[in-house]
Amino acid sequence: MANGNAIAYDLAKKQKEISVAEFFERNKHILGFGNPTRALVTSVKEGVDNSLDACEEAGILPELYVEVKNPSEEECVVIIEDNGPGIIKQQIPNVFARLLYGSRFHAVRQSRGQQGIGISAVVLYGQLTTGKHAKIISKIQDDRPAVVTELAIDTNKNRGEVVHQEIMHLDKPSGTRVEVSIIADYKRGKRFVYDYLQSTSIVNPHARIVFKDAEKNEHVFERTADTLPKKSEEIKPHPYGVELGTLIKMAKDTKSRKLASFLKSEFSSMGDRTADAVCDEAKLDRNLSPMELSRDQFAALHQAFKKVKIMAPPTECLSPIGETLIRRSLKSETQEVSPEFIFTASRPPAVHSGNPFQVEVGIVYGGSLPKDKPVKLLRFANRIPLLYQQGDCAITTAIESIDWRRYGLDQPSGNGIPIGPAIFLTHVASTQIPYTSESKEAIADVEEIQNEIKLAFRECARKVQLHINKKVRRVKTREKFDLITKILPEIAKKSAHMLNKPIPPLDKVITRIMDVVWIEDVVEYERARGKPVQAKLEDPTAQNEGGWIAKSTIMVVNYKNKPQKFNLYAVFPKDAVVGTVSPKPTKVTDTYLRWDLDNIPPINKIDIKFELAGLNKGDFDENDLYVQNINPTYVIGADKWEGE
């Protein structure tokens, strides 16, 4: 026994707390600093994520300035400046120089950062590789000077150390500027930084980002939405997603004295009945003190969570980007390839292990995008671009498992990333994104998430398909249109002339040749003048002066040989507000207009006009038209109305 003790003492001499520096050194690959190229992108990314979160939390439209300098071959200076609320002097060392410190670590809500490693890891990496200190400038109020802090990290204590502090003038109401010197590969990393910022701008249409590269070229990613995204709300953890250890910790920290009230107050989706059902299932008295539960009792409780049917967590806490804004951003960022069309789809919120999530997708197609290369995937999680490990990501797996050949894209062997002139955007918003690793580069293969992504893409691809079919049919019918309006009258004239006879009437022949109801539409945009238009997007009270009005004109011509009577539906984006409509619609909802058209005699025409306000130019390029009470195969230019 004495000998055994001696060994344990020996071992104890070697046991000590490992420093954050060691922790970092061992884990730098999973933190995104595995090589000098990655280190550059990760540093920019952490800074930008931090700034965007800060601005949004303070309700400020983000205005970011990112600069990368390249003073020597292996060294870069990364500068990120925002117009956020700033950080008070005392907190600067904690926020920028202490790992695992942050306000969001314990919160259950949709946010960019989750782990509290972010920006302090960049500062630490800079210190470890260059020995230089980070410089933080922060201003919290318009009438006060900015504070400049030079910051070092005490790697043994995991504490920030202020090396030098002074005040200076900063020419903006508030904001934070971070400057960190790091060892990085500028040559290789530059393109990734650009891609990252461009992608960030796509899913953050409310942000304006200026990027100045080491060659002093400025790239501006303009803002395409003037309203902040809906604030994501904090929710309590859902019992399905909680781990045993967390459950025990929550029970120790709670103010509730009874088990049932602990369950109701600390978890979401827990009402009286569910809390009782859980207690019964775990064979625990609902009046037990949560503090005094044994480990076995906790385990029973944890088991009971899985057995009792508990309502899904609330989903209002999510802040998706929205189809209109995705479309607008994609349109703005793909301008130079002038795509043929952009379609989007958004799924209703769903749940994985008690965590609400929601999937949104967009497809950009055509233009000068390469036809013989795999489709470009843009992956996003909580508005963060995922740049690496595409192959390991649930988004990729989901896309690969769809048979894209059905939707007109090449896909050798019917799986894998399809080939064609397209960009696929996927955004997953969740209170808890299940990443494959700490570096947050890929979403783990969670079945529920994969299914939702698949459903979203199928829906989007169907829209693409419809659009293409419609176009093909339209081209064909337009040819016939030429035929009956130009060529047929000429044939009639010429034959009559040769025979010295009067020109025969053509109406009946025209209906025979066409034999359809022809619907043609145009959408034009006009600057709103005079009274400001009410903008509905996000903020119903915002007055959008000088906005755009979409003017839609629909022409319906009956080329059938019998009179036609049917209902016509025009679907428009939720974000739009309907203006003048003529003729008077039979029904108006927030997504469609309906007209019950009276008998249209053969060769007769009806013009329908309506206006939409609250949209940006290009949000609504073509009408989405449907018909009811008529055989849809008679109609060119509208599809069968399938109900709401």
């Binding site: 047929l488 000429e490 044939i491 010429k494 034959s495 040769m498 025979l499 025969p504 025979r512 040749i513």
Partner: protein, 365 residues
């Protein structure tokens, strides 16, 4: 003597009337004509040539192309009517340019207008000469002991001896070789040799083959013009002279023979005017390539496709052609008639032709 065109005008007006009546009956206007494809030619036992079968194609205003075709037809027949009235004629190329003024009915290529003129022949059963349309290309050249009498543009008849009255280029066949224009007076020869290439024609002339072998030499100039084929047919029938066709050895040359002997697919509606069923193929055959060890080229993919298409062509279904085409496909080679020069410039006239002619039992010498 002015020709009576009332029959032609009647047929042209019938086209306009068909379209007009369709419109009045509220029917989609359409014209029907024989389908002009390989699949729709049948051997006519009475005429011994290949004619169109029962397959019909409809040109209907139901499609954009069909409507354009109808409109152009209206314009073209109106134009033809005008020409008849004003006693003018035009070349096919001029017709194509005239259509510049037809707005929507304008032809985009001359091929389109040529095809439409042929369509009109098929629909009406008239010949394009009836429509006052004439081809751009002239007929080819002739040398041999033959006297023709031509009605010149001055309306005087002129006799021409096709050896004594012509230079080495020979007598040029006019585009109109009908009786009112051209008659054969004397023909002291044993057979006609129709030759694909100008080079070989000139070789036979230089070597005096026409006198030595009592032959009339006709230059086909590739795929022969209608007038050349008509000339050969009349000479064959009126002067009872056998016709031997001498071409390169490739699928395209076999088609030249096909159009001389059987009738061309494009002009099957007038095969009985143009084809010479008695014409025989002299060579160069694929067997000749082997027998005479001629220099060769490799068959191209187009050549192979053309040969395979000929195996399906109803005109090439006899034993001789099937064997020769299959042989050529298996050799994978082709050759030109001038490849015979491998053995010297006189080889073709001293050896090859006499051997082949003897083989075919044509020469009386």
């Amino acid at each position: 003597m002015a020709r009576d065109y009332s029959n032609v005008i009647g047929k042209i007006d019938a086209i306009a009337a068909k379209v007009y009546d369709d419109l009045q009956k509220a029917e989609i206007p359409a014209l029907q004509l024989s389908t002009r494809t390989k699949a729709n030619i049948r051997f006519d036992d009475d005429l011994s040539v290949w004619k169109y079968g029962k397959g019909k194609t409809e040109r209907s205003a139901n499609s954009l192309d069909g409507a354009y075709m109808l409109l152009r037809t209206m314009y073209l027949v109106d134009f033809i009517k005008d020409m008849i009235k004003e006693k003018k004629s035009s070349t096919l190329r001029e017709t194509y340019y005239i259509s510049e003024g037809w707005n929507l009915a304008k032809f985009s290529t001359q091929n389109e207008s040529d095809l439409l003129a042929e369509d009109l022949e098929v629909i009406t059963g008239c010949m394009r000469e009836d429509f006052k349309l004439r081809p751009e290309e002239d007929g080819a050249r002739v040398i041999g002991n033959l006297v023709v009498e031509e009605m010149t543009r001055n309306n005087t008849k002129k006799k021409i001896h096709c050896q004594d009255d012509v230079g080495d280029a020979g007598y040029g066949i006019p585009y109109n070789v009908e009786k009112e224009k051209l008659t054969f007076k004397e023909a002291d020869a044993d057979f006609i040799v129709a030759i694909e290439t100008g080079g070989m024609f000139d070789r036979l002339v230089e070597n005096g083959f026409d006198t030595d072998f009592r032959a009339i030499l006709v230059h086909l100039k590739g795929q022969p013009a209608r007038s050349t084929r008509r000339f050969i047919k009349r000479l064959n029938e009126e002067k009872k002279l056998p016709v031997l066709v001498f071409t390169d050895c490739d699928p395209w040359s076999f088609r030249i023979y096909g159009s001389v002997a059987y009738g061309a697919i494009k002009t099957a509606h007038i095969s009985e005017y143009l084809a010479t069923p008695a014409a025989q193929y002299l060579g160069v055959t694929p067997s000749d390539i082997e027998n005479y060890k001629l220099p060769t080229d490799k068959l191209t993919t187009e050549d192979i496709a053309a040969l395979k298409s000929e195996l399906e062509d109803p005109r090439f279904q006899d034993q001789f052609w099937k064997q020769e085409i299959k042989l050529q496909l298996s050799m994978g080679k082709k050759s030109e008639q001038q490849a015979l020069a491998k053995y010297g410039l006189d080889y073709v006239t001293d050896t090859y032709l006499p051997e082949k002619i003897a083989e075919m039992g044509v020469s009386k010498k």
